[in-house]
């Protein structure tokens, strides 16, 4: 459930749409459960449904903002002040939102949702080598946007 919501949030950027589409994807999965191959992981199958729904939604709602807003600091240590943290979050948000959808998606999966390379490869249906390569270049683009 949490993974579903966060995956949608990573693609759509805002809370309401993420809740709506992650729930819709569960309903579609339920209605199409006969097509599910039990040999494969449920979430991998579910993610494909969710991803298609989200891409459809973005396509049909071009005028709506799909910028990442819901980012926070993972740990609240005292090394950095609140202002510094806020500034850093804003900087990351701005940079992430300037990336292409596919670059943003793979960064969110690896760095924010902590999926392994193998899991990402299964979810996106691409080889592990491609995951590493896409991630490497996506991070590089992000670093450039943050400069």
């Amino acid at each position: 459930m949490k993974r579903a919501y966060y995956s949608a949030l990573a693609i759509l950027g805002n809370h309401d749409d993420a809740m709506e589409l992650s729930q819709q994807a569960f309903i579609r999965a339920y209605n199409n459960f006969s097509k599910y191959d039990p040999e494969r992981k449920f979430f991998t199958w579910y993610y494909k449904i969710l991803r298609n729904l989200c891409l459809n939604f973005i396509r049909d709602n071009k005028n709506k903002s799909h910028l990442i807003e819901e980012i926070t600091y993972r740990t609240m240590d005292d090394i950095q002040s609140e202002i510094e943290k806020d500034e850093e979050i804003e900087k990351v948000k701005r940079a992430l939102n300037q990336l292409e959808h596919s670059d943003r998606e793979i960064i969110m999966m690896k760095e924010f949702e902590n999926y392994s390379y193998k899991e990402i490869a299964e979810m996106l249906d691409i080889p592990i080598g491609s995951v590493m390569s896409k991630l490497f270049y996506a991070r590089k683009k992000l670093a450039n946007k943050m400069k």
């Binding site: 459930m1 949490k2 919501y5 966060y6 949030l9 990573a10 809370h15 809740m19 729930q23 569960f26 309903i27 579609r28 339920y30 199409n32 097509k35 599910y36 191959d37 494969r40 199958w45 494909k48 449904i49 298609n52 729904l53 891409l55 459809n56 396509r59 819901e70 980012i71 926070t72 600091y73 993972r74 740990t75 850093e88 979050i89 990351v92 960064i107 969110m108 760095e111 924010f112 949702e113 390379y117 080598g129 590493m132 390569s133 991630l135 490497f136 991070r139 590089k140 992000l142 670093a143 943050m146």
Partner: protein, 150 residues
């Protein structure tokens, strides 16, 4: 991208994850020593990863998670209810139209041209509804993102 470049990326990623074995670590160290540009590249990747590692997506809170599944169950139940209501409405409407048509044809007080007009109107309405449903189904099939094949 050549083979060497792919290997470099592989080593970079494992190094960033701290998953290099000793053999790979030696290979990676040699790689960085032999090419200062790669060292700069690695430091940059490490830095950005470090920044991202400190961040996460916002947790919407306990109340949200408590209601999450309930909302899904409600939607599934309402979906089933709508299907049942639609099926019964079609049957009731179909039977009503059939009865009305039978009575209409049997009624000798209604002039023939009126009977024909009403029948033509009902047929026209049926064709219109059929056409709208077919168009809706066709547009669903053409949707390039439409799932679900697995």
């Amino acid at each position: 991208m050549n083979v060497m470049k792919e290997r470099e990326i592989y080593l970079f990623e494992l190094a960033l994850e701290g998953e290099l074995n000793s053999e790979e670590q030696n290979e990676f160290n040699l790689l960085l020593e032999s090419n200062p540009q790669l060292k700069i590249e690695y430091d940059e990747q490490k830095k950005i990863k470090g920044v991202l590692m400190n961040m996460s997506l916002k947790n919407p809170g306990k109340e949200f998670w408590d209601g999450y599944w309930l909302s899904i169950y409600n939607r599934i139940e309402r979906g089933i209810a709508w299907i049942l209501i639609s099926i019964s409405a079609i049957i009731i409407a179909g039977y009503g139209i059939y009865e009305a048509m039978t009575n209409l044809l049997a009624d000798t007080n209604i002039p023939g041209f009126m009977k024909i007009s009403i029948i033509v109107f009902v047929i026209g309405l049926a064709i219109l509804i059929f056409s709208l449903i077919r168009e809706k189904l066709a547009s669903r099939k053409k949707d390039k993102y439409r799932e679900i094949q697995r």
